[in-house]
């Protein structure tokens, strides 16, 4: 049974992505007790799966390394992975949360030596590469995974593979008897940092994501460029592994569209501008990127990055919402549409098309506590004064990493205000 020490002076943070980690750390480094609950087996969330950040083109896992070191060094934070908040009751200053913890089938004895992975035969689609490749059914989510502990995929439980894994582990770390458990955690304040998910690209039918292998999402493209990714960082197109040098970036894939997401997802323009530089980095002179856009939203200081990319001869811009994508026999994708500046019809062939996929708050679909008000896009709105719930990061709005962290830091303060009030009342 998982033991968690928590009181109504504890801050419960839901979501272990960069927003949740930040909120938890900032609060903990102010001396507060924090329980950080993450649904997946590892912290890091979506940013851990990005290759580079705009506009500096630095590496997200560089910041993750620092944040993980902060967490390892901080005794105020208790991390629960594979855990989901299923219900919350109570009021500001006195909540109790029901948390479901899924079995990992690997206990804290695990040294991450990897013998179990060597032993099992079964493979499962790798969610950390958006299913672009497979991984062993006994796996460490990724090189930066924290806790650094293996996971036995539920699909192999009850199969010979499970027993092989158990036999292979010298440290008694494989526990096939693990069951889902439900625990209750007290908390004075709750920070909801459940982040975002990519809009279902298959729903954008004219782009044929579900029909054409060489139409991929911007998130999948991050994995293709990343040395930790399925191609070891080589930009190869899925259909035939051909080097993808001539790449189309389709903006507003789902965003700013009343048939899909009504809001603008903010990050996609900068993300595509950034990704054109991956293409440049990979193929140099041979690189060719074309950005199909409605408005380029390189907001505030990011403008200079846009100007830099505009000067890059390998990148061209076309003001047009692509009408339709087809794929020819060679596997090339053909983009059909009209350049609206003036009036120029095009049918352009590219090696691959990248959909700058829209941002959907993860709260959409999850039944969130009544106290949290979500707008019609599913984003959490700033909560009422009498509430002890605070949204943070992309659960509250379409934000880039910088703004998400800012929002989480603010959320941490509001949570601390609740805790301090409780403390004063009890002192």
């Amino acid at each position: 049974m998982t033991e968690v020490v928590a009181t109504n002076q504890t801050i419960l943070v839901v979501g272990g992505g960069i927003s949740g980690m930040t909120a938890a750390l900032e609060a903990a480094e102010c001396g507060k007790q924090v329980v950080l609950v993450e649904k997946s087996p590892t912290l890091g969330g979506r940013t851990a799966l990005l290759y580079r950040y705009f506009p500096k083109l630095c590496h997200p896992i560089c910041g993750l390394e620092i944040n993980l070191r902060r967490i390892k060094a901080n005794r105020n934070i208790r991390v629960l992975t594979l855990a989901e908040v299923s219900a919350i009751s109570g009021k500001r200053g006195d909540y109790s949360a029901t948390v479901k913890i899924a079995p990992r089938y690997v206990n804290e004895n695990c040294t991450a030596c990897g013998d179990c992975a060597g032993a099992v035969a079964a493979e499962v689609p790798n969610p950390y590469n958006y299913g672009l490749d497979k991984m062993k059914a006994a796996y460490l989510p990724h090189a930066m995974a924290y806790p650094q502990r293996y996971v036995l995929d539920a699909s192999v439980i009850g199969t010979a593979d499970a027993d092989k894994a158990k036999a292979a582990c010298k440290y008694g770390a494989i526990d096939l008897e693990m069951r889902e458990e439900t625990i209750t955690i007290k908390a004075g304040a709750v920070i909801w940092a459940t982040g975002w998910q990519p809009y279902d690209a298959a729903k954008i039918q004219p782009y044929g994501y579900d029909r054409f292998a060489n139409v991929i999402t911007s998130l999948e493209f991050e994995r293709l460029a990343d040395p930790h990714g399925p191609t070891g960082g080589k930009i190869l197109r899925p259909s035939d592994g051909k080097e993808a040098k001539n790449i189309a970036f389709i903006q507003c894939a789902g965003s700013r569209d009343e048939n899909h997401l009504r809001h603008c997802s903010r990050i996609c323009c900068m993300a595509s501008l950034k990704q054109t530089q991956y293409v440049k980095e990979a193929w140099g002179e041979a690189a060719k990127s074309t950005v199909y856009y409605i408005d380029i939203r390189a907001i505030d200081r990011f403008e200079d990055f846009y100007q830099k990319v505009q000067r890059d001869p390998s990148v061209s811009f076309l003001k047009s919402k692509v009408a339709k994508v087809t794929q020819d026999k060679s596997g090339d994708v053909i983009l059909h549409g009209v350049d609206t500046e003036g009036y120029h019809r095009y049918a352009n062939a590219h090696d691959m098309a990248v959909l700058a996929i829209g941002m959907q708050p993860s709260v959409a679909g999850v039944d969130i506590p009544a106290e949290i008000v979500a707008d019609s896009s599913g984003f959490i709105e700033s909560s009422a004064a009498e509430s002890g719930f605070f949204g943070a990061g992309c659960a509250t709005n379409a934000l880039d990493v910088n703004r998400a962290v800012q929002s989480s830091t603010a959320a941490a303060l509001r949570a601390i205000q609740v805790i301090n009030k409780v403390a004063r009342a009890e002192a």
Partner: protein, 214 residues
């Protein structure tokens, strides 16, 4: 009908957008366009368009009344609804195109001998005569709209199709004499006449004489 055009000209002076909003079916949607161009790229006869829908919307906002109303473009709409289902702002583009065409025609600004316009008129008159379309009569009037000789020529080139359809029992000279129709075609025509009056009332036009209303 040219006078209607002048009426509208001084009524709306330099505000063509407002004119479109008030006179054109679904015209009040024009302002919602965000110029993404997805309609332009989705259009079946797109390559033949001189102005794409999105561009026409911009021209309306820019007050290019003459250019818009005399344009051939709207008349190339096949009603495939591609633009409409893809529009991120859910503009009923197909309807707006029809509305603009209809309005241009009403003001007498539609291009002369615009084949689609002529066909559209023939179709409407044909189907409202008896309440049902008589395909044979309609076809004949379409082919003969530019006069007898060209009509005969067209018929001749298409004779094989005609024969084929005849043997397939899908085209029959009998139609020229015993034609389908509604029993209560007069009631129908009264209703359509009334519809015209209401339309005129709402839009502030003088009622114009129509085949079925005279």
């Amino acid at each position: 009908m040219g006078d209607l055009n002048t009426q509208m000209l001084d009524k709306y002076r330099n505000n063509f957008l407002r004119e479109v909003e008030e006179k054109v079916d679904d015209g009040d949607w024009v302002k919602m366009c965000m110029q993404c161009g997805v309609c332009a790229g989705s259009c079946t006869f797109g390559p033949d368009w001189e102005h794409t829908p999105q561009k026409i919307f911009m021209m309306i906002r820019a007050g290019k009344r003459e250019e818009v109303l005399t344009s051939h473009s709207m008349w190339l709409c096949t009603s495939c609804y591609n633009c409409m289902v893809r529009c991120p702002r859910k503009l009923p583009i197909t309807h707006i195109m029809h509305g603009l065409a209809s309005y241009a025609h009403r003001l007498g600004l539609a291009p002369k001998n615009q084949p689609t316009r002529d066909f559209s008129m023939i179709f409407w008159e044909n189907c409202t005569k008896t309440g049902r379309v008589n395909e044979l009569k309609m076809t004949i009037s379409v082919y003969f709209r530019e006069g007898f000789v060209s009509g005969i020529k067209k018929m001749w080139t298409l004779r094989n199709i005609g024969r084929g359809l005849f043997f397939a029992k899908r085209l029959n000279p009998l139609e020229l004499f015993v034609s389908h129709g509604c029993k209560d075609k007069d009631g129908l025509r009264r209703a359509l006449k009334k519809a015209d009056e209401i339309e005129a009332r709402r839009r502030g036009y003088a009622v114009q004489p129509r085949g079925y209303s005279s």
